[in-house]
Symmetry: C2
Subunit: 304 residues, 2 copies
């Protein structure tokens, strides 16, 4: 099975603490690294957790609050010092131009590679990236400014052909691709061998959803229904439910309600407020609603 794993580089919130770095994570799909958000110090966290800079493919920014973007200048400079040549695509709200264009102009012709700023429409499910094995969608969250969640999903793989059946029915090589795609096989005698006798289904496509920052928002349930892992912000504990509403953030319990309603397999909560010195009570409150909850931490690797 190809690699599909998420590394948490930072799961703090607006104010960094000694416990948590600002938001950033890496989604490694088949040896390509896709970054989600890039808070200050992200390049330092990449070094710390031995993420290969050369594998960084593109960057997805949820929204333009500083804690999600202030690591971009340093990361861009370092990639250039390392001699990157391939374009770097940054998917973000179109206003990122206001913040990054002056920097890009300043670094100017010294940059070793081209940066493409690709605007994300703040709207329902939008396909924003696709390659032969992966699709990335954005979808609208509910925050103080336009903010997008992201859904990473593998494409469906062809069915696996059963080796013994190839020999038994003497299936010609040139027909194998079509059988994997679902065709039946017709023998030289004219017998039709049903596809489900010849093949078995590949593993179901894996899906990862990122929802941060956002108020409690059941409207997203349809987008993330049944995902293998949901990362959902849980800035506050129950005791700060009013504050969560006011600042368009979620409590741990609200994150868990979303996970339950969406029927996800696992919930990872993060984006912890700097007021908390330990997160155990957030975990307990979330697990009351959805037992398959884990706390994010810097360096956490989630295998899908």
């Amino acid at each position: 099975m190809t690699k599909f794993e998420v590394t948490i580089l930072g799961c703090g919130s607006a104010m960094p603490t000694t416990l948590h770095n600002p938001p950033s994570q890496l989604v490694d799909v088949n040896e390509k690294l896709f970054m989600i958000d890039c808070g200050e110090g992200t390049q330092l966290q990449m070094r710390k957790y031995k993420a290969r800079m050369s594998k960084l493919h593109s960057i997805f920014i949820s929204h333009l609050h500083g804690d999600h973007i202030f690591g971009l200048p340093g990361l861009i400079s370092t990639l250039s010092l390392l001699g990157r040549t391939g374009d770097l695509n940054i998917y973000a709200h179109k206003e990122i131009e206001l913040l990054l264009k002056p920097l890009i102009r300043y670094l100017g012709h010294n940059l070793s590679f081209k940066i493409n700023l690709i605007p994300i429409q703040p709207d329902g499910l939008q396909l924003i990236y696709e390659n032969k094995s992966l699709r990335v969608h954005s979808f609208l969250l509910k925050h103080r400014m336009d903010t997008n969640g992201f859904l990473f999903e593998e494409k469906e793989s062809p069915r696996h052909i059963i080796r013994e059946m190839i020999d038994f029915y003497q299936i010609p090589v040139k027909q194998i691709q079509r059988i994997k795609a679902g065709d039946d096989f017709v023998t030289a005698e004219g017998n039709v061998i049903k596809n489900n006798i010849l093949t078995y289904p590949s593993a179901p496509p894996r899906r990862y959803a990122y929802c941060s920052d956002t108020a409690f928002n059941p409207a997203i349930v349809s987008y993330i229904s049944g995902v293998d892992v949901l990362y959902h912000e849980a800035t506050f504990a129950d005791s700060e439910t009013a504050r969560a509403k006011e600042t368009f953030h979620s409590t741990a319990r609200q994150a868990a309600v979303i996970a339950k309603e969406a029927g996800v397999k696992k919930l990872v909560i993060g984006h912890f407020s700097s007021r908390y010195n330990e997160m155990q009570h957030l975990l307990l409150e979330a697990q009351e609603e959805f037992p398959q909850t884990e706390l994010a931490y810097e360096g956490m690797v989630i295998e899908l």
Copy 2:
């Protein structure tokens, strides 16, 4: 004696490593914090080493390479989240406007305090800041772009009056300030008591100099002559002397030659290239020229 100490927050160079953070340090003079340079992650380092954000008075930027400034956006945001109200003065080359103005515009009226960008003339010794106990001068270094070193010096304190002499000669309270300033005392009988019988000198003013980034440049010796502590960049070892020249950086040995020629009391070397996993050979090369050399490290506190 009032506090005068330097905390090293980062002593790496252009590319951060797991060993060293990008350049930044705090000069604490009498409970006011003056920051020199602000590489990415500086606010995280302040938290780590328990530096009080509320004591941050102003920021001095040596030059506009990313590793010396990319921590500013995050630090500014955090100061605002903390509700700072006092102006923040940032002393830097005038082109910092190109980089910071778009950010300040973007953060806009949400900033809780005013930022003053105060241009430094790239020239010889310039007085750029002064309060009742401290003067800060900038002076030109020799780098690939306009770069300034900084000299922090205490002002001379008044002489100390000897308590027993006040009693013995029955010196009136209102004359004490003038005697501290150097006046003699005339008794009721008309006898002149010389000032040096009544007072002893206060400790000599302490001085700290910061020279980074710079090529080997003996022209700075006159500015930093006899300082208590010189922080001088030492990006490279002897084996990279050619590379140092080419990139307008110094070797550890060159830093030590400057310290020797300037007759400083102590040299601290930093701004280490990311190519080095240990710095001991840099220290040894420097100590061959100037034995009173120490290696900087993150969290180092230098008392003057």
